[in-house]
Each structure stands twice: as structure tokens, then as C-alpha cells.
Subunit: 154 residues, 2 copies
């Protein structure tokens, strides 16, 4: 009898009007479609985040990965457990600090990203952004990049 799959935020399409609300609406749609797309591989948005971080930042401790995702280290234990059981990451030891793991992508993890996950998310972005012309898209990207910068207070 549920109305939800397992979405993070409510779908308040009613509030639209200003750029702020529209932003939320569009982003929510992207997120929902991404979660939906990843479901086929039994991955959550967060799992994908771990893999992408490891791909771009090499071996990291569990705590460091959690810090970048705003997830507690105690929560990371299970997240990494699952990814390790699926053979997508491996817990190596950090030779400089034997308390910490050096979590790294396996070949399988790297391949899954390149062959499945990245194309999947590209496709989702394409579905949503495809309504714009290439020129409009460049404009949008430029404006959003201005907004996405660091510290910005009124």
C-alpha cells in the first residue's frame, strides 16, 4: 500500500515557480531515476558513490571514504562489507598505519564502473537534460558551476 519506493525526498511538484524550487524538482527527478537505474545492479546511490570516490582518489581508509560521503565510520563497515563480498572492492592494509584499511577497487569494480555504471548514469542524465539544445546545456552547466562553488553566504 506504499506510495514510496525508497526515495529520499518528497515530490512536491506543486511548489515550483522560482529557480530554487525548480532546482529541487529537477534534481529529485535525476536522483529517483538514478536509484531506479542502479537497482538493476542491486546498488544504491551511496554504493556508487564509494566506487566513484575510490576510482578517482585511489586507496582510502573506510573513515576517509565515510568523511567524503558524510557517513559515519560505523556505518561504513557494512557498506564496505557488502561491496567486498561482491568483489568490487578489496580491503588492503595501509602499511604506514596498521590500524587502517586501504580500501581499493578491484578489477571487477573498475570494470563495472566503466562498462555498466558510468554509462547508466550518463544515460539518466541524458534522459533528463536531453530536452535542452547543446548550447542551452552549456549555459546551464556554466550557471550551475558558478552556484556549486564553495562558501557562499548572504
Amino acid at each position: 500500500m506504499g506510495a514510496n519506493g525508497r526515495e529520499p525526498a518528497p515530490a512536491t511538484r506543486l511548489l515550483a515557480g522560482s529557480a530554487g524550487w525548480l532546482l529541487g524538482d529537477v534534481a529529485r527527478e535525476v536522483t529517483l531515476r538514478l536509484e531506479e537505474a542502479l537497482r538493476g545492479d542491486e546498488l544504491r546511490w551511496r554504493d556508487y558513490g564509494v566506487l566513484v570516490i575510490l576510482e578517482s582518489a585511489g586507496p582510502l581508509s573506510q573513515q576517509e571514504i565515510g568523511r567524503r560521503l558524510a557517513v559515519d565510520r560505523s556505518t561504513m563497515v557494512h557498506v564496505i562489507d557488502v561491496l567486498e563480498q561482491r568483489g568490487l572492492v578489496a580491503r588492503g592494509r595501509d602499511r604506514a598505519d596498521r590500524r587502517a584499511y586501504a580500501v581499493e577497487l578491484t578489477g571487477a569494480g573498475r570494470a563495472l564502473l566503466a562498462e555498466v555504471l558510468h554509462p547508466l548514469t550518463d544515460a539518466v542524465h541524458e534522459q533528463v537534460l536531453g530536452r535542452l539544445t547543446p548550447g542551452e546545456r552549456r549555459t546551464l552547466t556554466r550557471l550551475l558551476a558558478r552556484l556549486a562553488g564553495p562558501a557562499r553566504d548572504a
Copy 2:
């Protein structure tokens, strides 16, 4: 020891680059700031959504409100309980269907929206969008409005 307040989505600023990821980053920042701003009035994003929906769509049943927010009716019971206890909404009876409530804004609810909550969210939007010139902002709004339309599949 937590890394979170109670955010919905992880903060993966690392993935930025394309419009799709930037969109998520900016929207996440808006959401975090909104939750933060509403915390002062001990309201969650969802509570605000209920009030806004009632403001724009008049008295509605709990189930209908839940449908618009993608929240189950069993969950709505407590949401409305709290808002009612705070005197922001009232459970009237739907005279056409005595099974259903006709939940409506009270004067206090309407006043809180007008005097506190709407200004608050406007301020948050201003903080994030304020980096753009008025012209850029109009452009952004126009582009997002194109994206926020209904059904759009590749």
C-alpha cells in the same frame, strides 16, 4: 561522533563536472540549508510541504496530502497530529464523506507561512542563487522550467 545532521543525501562534491552532477550538488546544498533554516522552528522539510500544499490547495484529506508528498497515509497520521498539536492545521470533517478529514490551515498556520517560513526559504534561495546576476537567474529559471516538465523519456 556523527558526520550527519539528518541529511537525506550524501555530499559527493567530488563527482561534479557535468550538468547532471552539478545539479545534484547545488540542489543538495539548497536542501541542507532549508532543513537547517527550518530547524529553528522545529519543522522538517516535509511539514513545510504539508503547509504549502494546504495553502495552495485548500482543505484536503490526509490521504490526498500524502499522495501529493509521496507519503503513506499511515505516516500522515503522525505528521498531521504534530501540526495539529502546534495549532498550525485543524482537522475539520468532510461533510460529503464522513470517513475523511478536511485538513485545513489555521490562522496561525497561515501566519507562520507568511511571516516566517516563506521569508526563510526565500532567504535560503537567495543565499545560493545570489551569485548570479538577475539576467542569469532568469536564464537559469527558464532552462530549469524546461527540464521540470512532465514525462520525458529518451
